[in-house]
Each structure stands twice: as structure tokens, then as C-alpha cells.
Amino acid sequence: MPDLSPYPDSYPDAGAESGAGSTTGPPRWVKVLGIIALVLVLLVGAVMLAGGGGGHGPGRHTSGGDTGGQRPPFTATGAGGLGGHKPPSTATGSGGPGGHKPPAGGHTP
């Protein structure tokens, strides 16, 4: 049966299989994609190791790695001091020593 696909390196749209894809090893495009994926994974791993992050999650963004460590973590209640990491659940502003503050943003022209 002739291959009716307009693209010789791809399967036809109808999903008809032919023996042309039955080679023993993986095709070249798989190897290229694999190499690119490997490089990306190594790159991400190196960045995570260099930044000192612990993978995905809030912890990565509270360690200063995300903003380059230019700014210390914000402590709303003033009860911090031991590392200064504020859990998300206490971010509602339950009346710390600072008392009332105006809403964020305010009026912008």
C-alpha cells in the first residue's frame, strides 16, 4: 500500500501505520529532543542548586533566591526574628504592633 502522507517522515492523518517507521533504534528527532530535554534539566538543576532553592513551593520564594536576595523577607507581625519567614496563613494583617495601615495601592493617578 503506498504511503499517501504528504510528509514522508510523518504518519498520515488517518493513522494508518506502515512499516517505514519500524526501525530498530529511536529516530533522530527523538534523540534531538532527548538531548535538549537533558540540557534543560541540567540547567534547571544547576540554577536551583546555585540559588539554594529547595524545589518548587513557597519555600523557594521566601529564601531570597527569587529576588536575588536584595530584600529581607517581610515580617508583618513583628514577631519574627527567627529567620523572618512569614507563613502565608498569617498574611492577613491581624493587628500587629504597627496598627492599622492604609490599603495597599491607594489612589493612583
Binding site: 504518519y11 501505520e17 519500524s22 526501525t23 529516530p27 520564594h61 508583618a76 492577613t92 494583617g93 495601592g105
Partner: protein, 192 residues
């Protein structure tokens, strides 16, 4: 059995719409995260991070799960199979990895949204709210989903060892059955 092609078409429609919808939602996410990183308007920046968390749970996560589930059903219900062709296998890997990273990253988005909602933060200090992380994640996610969409359209050739073995079994099985079945006497009057 007449409903099976209809069912297959329906699952394919859900798979295509959820996958392309996921790609579109990530594109919007990328745009929002760039706005959150660059805008000088504090309300816009805070609104962006709050919207991203909600959109993540309401749009991104359901679409990613729908894409994965319908893709599994679609591959197992057709001759393509799940592990027979490299392009299907690569798409599966992309879908699973992107879905796992998305679910893990929702924690971070929740944290960023909490910071954006924190009214005790100084209004002028946007560096406490901004983060380049969503830009990076959305860009990589979009790249992965574009690769998956391209694979779906081009369907590049290449069968896995498992696929080759299955194909060989399917080709040899009918011949083996024919050889094992004794020839029945042909009824008289039957055209040869």
C-alpha cells in the same frame, strides 16, 4: 457499536480543546506574569497575582487534568496505543511532567497571592509582591505545550521497541491461526 466512533470523536474533541485551551491559558498566564513584573501600578500588580492563583485552580489545573485523561483514553482506545509510538510517548511525558510541575507550583502561586493580598505591606514597595518566577514557569510551560501540539499535528515516525513487537505479533498472529486451523471441506456449489 455505532456509538463507538461517535464516542471516539467526542473524546478527541475534548482532548484537542482541553490541550489547546491549556496552551492558550498558559499564554495568558505569561502575559499576566509579565504585567505583574513590569507594571508600576501597585493595584495592577497585586491584582495580577491574585488573578493568577484563581485562574490556576479554576482553569489551568482542570485543563491539564482533562488533557491528560482524555489523551490516555484516546490513545488506549485507538490503534496508536500509549507506548507504541515515540510521538505519543513524548506527549505523555510532557503532559505528566507539566501537570506535576503545575500542581507543585500552585503552592507558590498561593503564596504570591497571599503576599499580594497582604494589606500590611507598604503600598509603594512592589518588590515584596513581584516575582520573576511565574514568567519563567509560564514560558517553559508554553514551550513544552507547543512541542506537544506540534507532535500531534506532524506525528513524526518512529515506533518504540514495544510498538514494534506488538506490530510483529499482530502481523504474525493471523498467519499462525490460519496455519493451525485445519482446512474445512468446502461445501458444494460455493464459488471458488
Amino acid at each position: 457499536m455505532a456509538s463507538r466512533p461517535r464516542l471516539r470523536k467526542f473524546v478527541l474533541t475534548v482532548h484537542v480543546t482541553s490541550s489547546v485551551g491549556w496552551l492558550g491559558a498558559v499564554a495568558v498566564f505569561l502575559a499576566l506574569s509579565v504585567v505583574g513584573l513590569t507594571s508600576r501600578d501597585a493595584q495592577v500588580v497585586r491584582g495580577v497575582y491574585l488573578a493568577m492563583e484563581s485562574a490556576g485552580w479554576v482553569v489551568l489545573v482542570p485543563l491539564s487534568l482533562a488533557s491528560l485523561l482524555t489523551g490516555l483514553v484516546q490513545s488506549l482506545g485507538t490503534k496508536w496505543g500509549l507506548l507504541r509510538h515515540y510521538w505519543v510517548l513524548v506527549k505523555l511525558l510532557i503532559n505528566v511532567v507539566a501537570g506535576i510541575v503545575l500542581l507543585m507550583y500552585m503552592q507558590t502561586l498561593g503564596y504570591l497571592a497571599d503576599r499580594a493580598a497582604d494589606t500590611t505591606l507598604p503600598s509603594g514597595d512592589l518588590s515584596a509582591v513581584r516575582s520573576p518566577s511565574p514568567v519563567l514557569h509560564a514560558a517553559v510551560g508554553m514551550l513544552l505545550l507547543l512541542v506537544a501540539a506540534t507532535l500531534s499535528v506532524y506525528k513524526p515516525r518512529g515506533m518504540t521497541r514495544y510498538g514494534q513487537r506488538k506490530q510483529h505479533e499482530q502481523r504474525t498472529a493471523p498467519a499462525a491461526i490460519d496455519a493451525a486451523t485445519p482446512a474445512r471441506p468446502r461445501p458444494s456449489g460455493t464459488p471458488s
